[in-house]
């Protein structure tokens, strides 16, 4: 068994981390996603990792770094695409909330039967002037054009599981960044003449943050390994479980960091809210916590039937 980063993967991680720190400090991140940003990432090879021969595990490592840096944009839906691409999960009924409509060329709609691709210029919607996450602008779209078939059911499944894994990785990176923010603040903010991190109530919050990150990261990289080597585990169970833990790590660490920062945590200026809001956004991508918990449960061979009433 060899379940840790190889030297090449460590180099990949460090390389992308250095690139992001250099090009996209938080000041730039706060200006939001645009084509320039997409081009830097595309030319670094972020979206073409699979075509360039990297595996899902490598991709998860890269996306964890994107999450740590909180790079905005439709990064997961653009994965494997040549142009900025957004996405939606189903087509059944509107209204639809389409993210980044002004910056994407195409919108991919993922259903069980397959993927459809819609030319973004054909979509008319109303820009929301107050999105939950200021870095994830949202358009309300009443009706979507049918678009064109883009992939069959197996492509759809590949996108669902692959998208789930790299979204999970992104969330792990966010949760890790939040832990660092909270721990640094707890070590330096003083009240009652002591650093607040010396109070157990704060220390224990930080310890739990770190544990969530480590467990979710292991689960996510295990799921990525299973996508790379399908015989080594159950795809449905591992991807759903990993994304569940990552969603939770992102959201719970966002709340935890808000608490550690006290009143500063409630300000626009401190970055914590940007992470927490993104975590809420990403909980709606590729399966929410509740949906995923049900998906994991359904992988138990002998699950009691929920149709029958109570005894």
């Amino acid at each position: 068994m060899n379940f840790d980063l190889s030297d090449d993967q460590v180099a990949l991680r460090d390389g992308i981390r250095a690139l992001l720190e250099g090009k996209f400090p938080m000041k730039r991140v706060r200006e939001g996603f645009n084509l320039d940003m997409w081009e830097v990432l595309a030319s670094a090879g972020v979206f073409s990792l699979r075509a360039d021969g990297f595996g899902w595990a490598d991709s998860a490592i890269v996306y964890e770094e994107l999450g740590r840096a909180l790079i905005p944009g439709p990064l997961v839906w653009s994965f494997g695409c040549a142009v900025p691409t957004g996405g939606l999960l189903r087509m059944d009924s509107g209204p639809y909330f389409v993210e980044h409509l002004d910056e994407i060329d195409e919108l991919h709609v993922l259903g069980q039967e397959g993927i459809r691709s819609i030319d973004a210029k054909q979509i008319s919607g109303k820009a929301n002037d107050w999105p939950l996450d200021p870095l994830t602008p949202v358009w309300r779209v009443e009706e979507l054009p049918a678009g064109d078939p883009f992939g069959e059911a197996d492509a759809s499944a590949e996108l669902w599981y692959g998208g789930g894994v790299i979204t999970a990785a992104y969330l792990v990176g966010m949760a890790d960044a939040l832990t660092t923010l909270a721990v640094d603040y707890a070590g330096q903010r003083k009240q009652f003449d002591r650093p607040i991190g010396s109070f157990q109530a704060i220390k224990h919050i930080c310890a739990d943050m770190a544990v969530r990150v480590e467990v979710a990261r292991a689960a996510t990289q295990a799921a990525a390994c299973i996508l790379d080597d399908p015989g080594s585990g159950n795809r449905e169970r591992s991807v759903s479980g990993a994304k569940l833990l990552a969603n939770e790590a992102g959201i719970a660490n966002g709340r935890a960091a808000t608490q550690v920062f006290g009143g500063m945590g409630f300000t626009w200026e401190v970055d914590v809210h940007l992470y927490l809001k993104r975590a809420w956004v990403l909980d709606t991508h590729f399966g929410s916590i509740d949906h995923l918990a049900d998906a994991v449960a359904s992988t138990h061979v002998d699950l009691g039937s929920s149709a029958s009433g109570n005894h």
Binding site: M1, N2, F3, D4, L5, S6, Q9, A57, V183, G187, R194, P195, G197, S198, Q200, I202, K203, H204, C206, A207, D208, A210, V211, E214, V215, A218, A219, Q221, A222, A224, C225, I226, D229, S232, G233, R237, S238, S240, G241, A242, L244, L245, D290, L292, A293, D294, A295, V296, A297, S298, T299, H300, V301, D302, L303, G304, S305, S306, S308, N310
Partner: protein, 376 residues
């Protein structure tokens, strides 16, 4: 990065599976939980069988009769034996996982040759006398006093929660040899022969109703000086060596066991809320399992990873959730102990997981201070 075990480990697995299938069929029924003599002979008999088949002391060095197996192979062993519902390490726990490794690391040649082989063969059972009524989490505040008298220590005091105290041949005993030194500097680690005069063992009843541990009363017990492991007053360092063995693969059996419990519980789950929670707990256990694999890989590279310090906390907290869920799934069937599936006994037993071997609060202190560098 991959999750596959090596071909050699898989071969080990299939041989072990075959052996287990044959050997488990020969075992007598497990004894009643309060029949300690029967439990001792059942558990030590299992240890003898493991020894005979070359599966004893997987983590121990070859020089002391162990197998010196890689951490990955130890993982396979624990996975397979737990899955096959082989007997748990039981009364051999302290000897194999605590005292033996401590003697290997710190003991004299005479101590090694006197104890190690006997522990491996299931001939010698150990118990742990660390905690005291006034010294639990704050172990270093222990008061059991040892006064040097020629070539003996004269020991007087009380130990608490001593697992396997009823059947131990030897106890790991922490005593205070220098009451004037700072509390971490006056402690000594002794091997206590449990048959010495002046030792009284009183079983303590647990929430399960059984007597899993005991109180130990020591009244001027004369312990030979050659029973000392490490130097006088250097016992706190030796203790940390002992406790560090709890971090390795110590919780793997527990984890595999919990995953098995989830599978046993699944067919009973009907309520959609319970079902969702079952998925949740499953995801957590799978995540902790993945982290275990990460730790094992790092251990094979000689690295003690961050995750090593997290498994106990994460696992024990998740196991509490699983215990609660199983009670709600059983509903009024949970009113009786001993029903099918052991769910109720397990719920009671696992209440201890967030307390024993460092409470969850102490684990969080350690993580916060040693791993995250937060001030004390």
């Amino acid at each position: 990065m991959d999750l596959r075990y090596s071909a050699a480990d898989e071969l080990f697995r299939s041989e072990l599976r075959e052996w287990l299938a044959a050997e488990l069929a020969l075992l007598p029924p497990a004894p009643h939980r309060d029949d300690w003599l029967a439990r001792r002979s059942y558990d030590t008999d299992w240890q003898r069988r493991l020894f005979g088949a070359g599966y004893a002391g997987l983590s121990w060095p070859k020089a002391y009769g162990g197998q010196e197996a890689s951490p990955g192979r130890q993982l396979v062993f624990l996975e397979e034996t737990t899955r096959a519902r082989a007997p748990y390490v039981g009364v051999n726990f302290v000897g194999l996982l605590h005292a033996g490794p401590t003697i290997i690391a710190e003991g004299t040649d005479a101590q090694k040759s006197q104890h190690l082989a006997r522990i491996l063969r299931g001939e010698e059972v150990w118990c742990q006398g660390f905690s005291e009524p006034e010294a639990g989490s704050d172990l270093a505040s222990l008061r059991t006093r040892a006064v040097r008298d020629g070539d003996h220590y004269v020991v007087t005091g009380q130990k608490m929660w001593c697992s396997f105290g009823q059947v131990g041949d030897y106890g790991e005993l922490l005593v205070r040899t220098d009451p004037d030194a700072p509390k971490h500097k006056g402690i000594t680690w002794l091997m206590l022969p449990m048959d010495l005069p002046g030792i009284e063992v009183r079983p303590l009843r647990t929430v399960s109703g059984s007597s899993e541990f005991a109180e130990l009363f020591l009244d001027e017990v004369r312990v030979p000086v050659e029973c000392r492991v490490g130097e006088e007053n250097d016992g706190w360092r030796v203790t940390n060596v002992t406790l560090s063995f709890e971090r390795g693969t110590a919780f793997v059996s527990e984890l595999v066991d919990a995953m098995r419990l989830v599978e046993d519980l699944a067919p009973l789950v009907r309520d959609p809320g319970h079902r969702r929670e079952l998925g949740h707990v499953t995801a957590e256990l799978d995540g902790i399992w993945a982290l275990t694999k990460r730790n094992v890989t790092q251990a094979e590279r000689g690295v003690t990873g961050r995750g090593t310090f997290m498994i106990k906390l994460a696992y024990s907290e998740t196991r509490q959730k699983l215990g609660e869920l199983s009670m709600r799934v059983l509903d009024r069937e949970a009113l009786v102990i001993g029903g099918p599936g052991n769910f109720v006994e397990e719920r009671l037993r696992t209440l201890a997981l967030t307390i024993a071997a460092g409470t969850s609060q102490i684990q969080r202190n350690i993580l916060g201070e040693r791993l995250l560098g937060l001030p004390r």
